[in-house]
Symmetry: C2
Subunit: 215 residues, 2 copies
């Protein structure tokens, strides 16, 4: 059964692949699972039909037969557990790959998301400029903590896993701000992720949606 995911009809990042459907698309491409996409306007995301699938009114969702999921991390883990390719077989390595999913989402991403959200929601508030150094320091501290033990490795823990897929996705968010660029090993890591054929296919698929919306 072909799973169906939801995505923005018109992504606010204008097809840069930063919306969370990209993470699920990438995972499905890595494991070679075809999928269908249902596109939603911002208005549709807040309507009862979508809220029944996703109580927080966001994208992506994932439907596969009787199963309906939201939360990109949960969808990614579900895909990774059902198909070979995104989690090591050996039990301890598998637990560590899952640990990196959580570390990406719960430790590295939150300060990045707050910095983006402040730029979006508090840009015109009188305190925004004064707060920016605090927000940026939180991100730099996390990148520093990640960069040091990472060293010159290719991936977080041996071979590419779902943990890398999420960490690369998270680290893409501050690209171009100068913060990621301070850490050449992390910058190379992100480039390595983006060079994967499955990443490229997922990126093109989400970009095509945005391009079509501009038609």
């Amino acid at each position: 059964m072909t799973p169906i995911i939801t995505a923005f009809a018109r992504s606010p990042d204008r097809g840069q692949g930063l919306a969370r459907d990209m993470r699920v698309r990438w995972a499905l491409e890595e494991v070679g699972q075809a999928y269908d996409t249902r596109l939603l306007s911002f208005d549709e995301m807040k309507q009862p039909a979508h809220l029944a699938l996703h109580p927080f009114g966001q994208i992506p969702t994932y439907q596969e037969g009787d199963l309906a999921l939201f939360e990109s991390g949960a969808i990614l883990l579900h895909v990774a557990q059902r198909h070979p390719g995104l989690l090591p077989e050996e039990a301890n390595a598998r637990a560590r790959a899952i640990m990196w999913i959580f570390a990406s989402l719960n430790t590295v991403e939150p300060p990045i998301a707050e910095w983006e959200q402040a730029a979006y929601l508090e840009r015109d508030r009188p305190w925004h400029q004064a707060r920016l150094p605090l927000l940026e320091k939180r991100i730099r501290d996390r990148l520093e903590q990640l960069s040091r033990p990472f060293g010159e490795a290719d991936w977080l823990d041996g071979t590419f896993s779902a943990g890398d897929l999420l960490m690369v996705s998270v680290l893409r968010r501050p690209e171009g701000s100068g913060m990621l660029e301070t850490f050449p090993n992390l910058r190379a890591y992100v480039a390595r992720g983006k060079a994967r054929p499955a990443y490229r296919r997922a990126f093109e698929a989400q970009r095509a949606v945005f391009t079509a919306s501009q038609g």
Copy 2:
């Protein structure tokens, strides 16, 4: 093999059970797995010996033979997958319980954590009072989105699961602020979680650590 977790030698919440070791203790109590605790000072958390276990210098960690994990969500999921009692057996219900772990940590907790962090780090900044309504609105919006479909259920999806364990843990953080109290069904849900014998045992164990630290 008895797992070993790390926890604060002197919890900053003074034994209220809001530190993240509580979530792991509670999970281990639910499945009946004994554990040992290694206590760390704030200084020890930043030393190389601990950073080798946890690159972000936090608690808890989890060690079990050759396996070392950090991230309370990952530890909880590992415990839940190894022992019966925290995840349904049926595949779709299991995927949904895992979805609620992610929803607790990635959708409901972030605005709560930001509000706490601002009170801690930005209390003396000139903008703090002016920003508070923004921070609180984000929390109320999430609680509203959670409360509406929850209705008069006992748990998020049928029987108690690891998803409930995390959601109750997250919802405990704004207790007493008046925000949780606006939603009687969520308040009752938190009370239901706290009444579980496993919760009580975990709570007493972490409180005993703090009490002992006060000598």
